[in-house]
């Protein structure tokens, strides 16, 4: 019995030895080939116009230098506007080549893993994940031609591209843009509008919100409705978000006639909705932001839960020209009550950049990034339930813009 034990002890020792070796090997492999499992991703632009991706686990406190700790994204330039981040991967359409690229931060560099060609999809109007593996994109303006949509399976980077059946622009309009897509069961709603852009009249939009309802996945138009109270429903959602579904399944969206988007500033910015049990716009619901105590145009909207939303608006008394609109810090944040239409201003520093992916909702907290141009580059934490605002992570270094903050993994 004892003899057998001794023999077994020897075998056990060698098994443990092998296991230890394997453990050592696997950890050393991780170090040279480390793919981050961090929770959050930042996209930063430095004062010398360099782009950085930085990932972190905590937004709540402390200080970090994302330029030193992050990975430089050398090209394409200014791509933060069109980026998607999902399940550890980064996606964008390369504007020059029109390849939809899948990449990842591996160790100290950004690696492009795969791509698929999507002709005419540089600078897409809209791009979002319909489900964990499928990206739905709407292409850029193509004049008086049908717009196109693409569905990309990001697991194998295969794509289907087809034309959208939306009515083409007619004079005086020469272009159109799609601002949102919203799926429910076997139907798809798209918000869009028409634009003109010429030397005589400059740039502007139809003074109308258009919504098309289609069968899905057939993409056949079932119904088109128009609302003349505002224009430019939705946004380039990859740059800044302004649509959401609430707990009841009601779909809300912001219309943006302000000068940075629709350029029909005499029309109001407003929140519209399509109710969960209805097929058409709830025309009785029109939360007019411009006539509310906010008194300004807005471009960003995020759902806080419990019929409250966070709105990102401009201050017309703080800028006189279009140039000042984008150079000066004049952006504010409000909590708006979607039912009572009450508004509550958040006591944040004036912010810069008319579009940024700057709000991340996590449970009952909203993380808001501010970059005021004076070195106050911070993550703030807003708790809607108690209307409390505290400062979280501070970002140091030569940062010009905190363009994106989002979850790296769902």
């Amino acid at each position: 019995m004892t003899g057998r034990l001794r023999k077994n002890k020897g075998s056990i020792a060698s098994i443990i030895g092998v296991l230890l070796m394997l453990l050592l090997l696997s950890t050393s492999c991780k170090q040279t080939n480390s793919i981050s499992k961090k929770k959050y991703s930042f996209f930063i632009m430095s004062n010398d116009q360099k782009q950085y991706l930085w990932q972190t686990d905590s937004l709540d406190a402390g200080t970090a230098n994302p330029i030193e700790e992050g990975v430089q994204l050398e090209h394409p330039p200014r791509i933060w506007y069109y980026m998607l981040v999902k399940n550890g991967f980064y996606y964008y359409v390369d504007p020059k080549t029109e390849y939809f690229v899948k990449g990842q931060v591996i160790g100290d560099h950004f690696e492009r893993l795969d791509s698929v060609y999507l002709k005419s999809f540089s600078y897409p109007d809209n791009a979002l994940f319909m489900d964990a593996d499928t990206v739905f994109l709407v292409n850029h303006s193509v004049g008086i031609q049908p717009k196109r949509y693409a569905k990309v399976n990001v697991a194998d980077m295969s794509a289907i591209v087809d034309t959208l059946a939306l009515p083409l622009p007619r004079p005086p309009f020469g272009n159109m843009s799609v601002g949102f897509e919203f799926w429910r069961d076997k139907q798809l709603w798209m918000g869009y509008t028409y634009h003109f852009n010429n030397r005589e009249n400059g740039f502007g939009s139809a003074d109308t919100v258009y919504i098309a309802r289609m069968s899905y996945p057939e993409m056949k138009i079932q119904h088109i409705e128009k609302d003349p109270r505002s224009t430019y429903p939705g946004n380039v959602n990859t740059a800044q978000q302004n649509t959401f579904l609430d707990e009841q399944g009601d779909f809300y969206f912001l219309s943006c006639p302000g000068i940075a988007r629709g350029a029909n500033p005499n029309q109001p910015t407003a929140i519209y909705r399509i109710k969960a049990d209805e097929q058409v716009l709830d025309t009785g619901y029109f939360f007019n932001i411009s006539t509310s105590p906010i008194q300004n145009h807005a471009y960003g909207l995020w759902y806080l839960g419990n019929h409250k939303a966070l709105l990102r608006s401009e201050r017309k008394d703080l800028f006189n020209t279009f140039e000042e609109h984008y150079l000066l810090a004049h952006i504010e944040y409000y909590e708006v009550d979607l039912r009572s239409k009450a508004v509550h201003k958040l006591d944040l520093p004036l912010d810069r950049g008319s579009s940024r992916t700057c709000v991340l909702i996590q449970d009952d907290q909203a993380y808001i990034t501010i970059n005021d141009g004076k070195g106050n580059n911070d993550v703030w934490i807003y708790r809607s339930k108690v209307q409390s605002l505290t400062k979280g992570l501070h970002l140091e270094g030569d940062i010009d813009y905190i363009f994106r903050l989002e979850k790296l993994y769902d």
Partner: protein
């Protein structure tokens, strides 16, 4: 010699004449801007795969297969060519297409802009655009849209003599090496002479920005 897809194909297969090889390698080294892809001319996916394969192969081996003795100069050229391929491949595909805007070199030959001083700045005119440069007052009077990269930091005046509105004028401190777009930003309500740093283009309404991009190939 125009570098075509067929020529690139032959280059990879080692079937080019000496002059043809020189042309392809020169094109690879010269391509500074990432140019637009032409519509429907190439099978981009195929060419992309081919070029990736080229990258992975030892370019010196490819040259050796041609059965030629490499001079040190050509050695360097081929290697530099491969490095250029690698660099360009980072943005995948490329083809040298002239942008619709008119470049400085062409402007110097044409009469589209008078008084142009190429020592002071590089300039491109958009479609249906014109400009006059008054070197004494350092005033650039233009109509339409221009893309300008000053070679040194200076205070430059811009004026916009077109359109049915009063002449707009603006003085701007421009930084050497930074690219700006000067345009007349107009809508129903408002006209503004905008001199905009290229890096802030994302602030323009989407359609305007996209039309600038397609006009200038940026």
């Amino acid at each position: 010699m125009k570098v075509s897809k067929k020529l690139i194909e032959r280059y990879h297969l080692g079937r080019c004449s000496y002059d043809e090889e020189e042309a392809v390698e020169q094109w690879l080294l010269d391509t500074q801007d990432t140019p637009l892809f032409p519509e429907g001319i190439l099978d981009k996916e195929t060419t992309k795969v081919e070029i990736w394969e080229q990258l992975r192969r030892d370019t010196l081996q490819a040259a050796a297969r041609k059965g030629k003795r490499l001079s040190a100069k050509r050695y360097l050229k081929v290697y530099a060519g491969a490095a250029a391929i690698a660099l360009l491949l980072l943005t995948t595909l490329f083809w040298n297409q002239k942008p619709t805007a008119i470049s400085t070199a062409e402007l110097a030959r044409s009469t589209k802009i008078t008084g142009l001083n190429t020592e002071l700045f590089d300039i491109e005119l958009g479609r249906e655009s014109e400009a006059t440069f008054d070197s004494k007052n350092e005033l650039l009077d233009f109509c339409g849209i221009i893309k300008i990269t000053p070679k040194k930091s200076m205070r430059l005046s811009f004026a916009n003599f077109c359109g049915s509105h009063d002449e707009l004028k603006k003085e701007v401190n421009v930084t050497g090496g930074t690219t700006y777009f000067a345009l007349d930003l107009k809508n129903n309500e408002h006209t503004e002479l905008l001199v905009m740093d290229e890096d802030l283009l994302f602030e323009l309404p989407l359609l305007l920005r996209n039309s600038l991009i397609s006009e200038f190939g940026i």
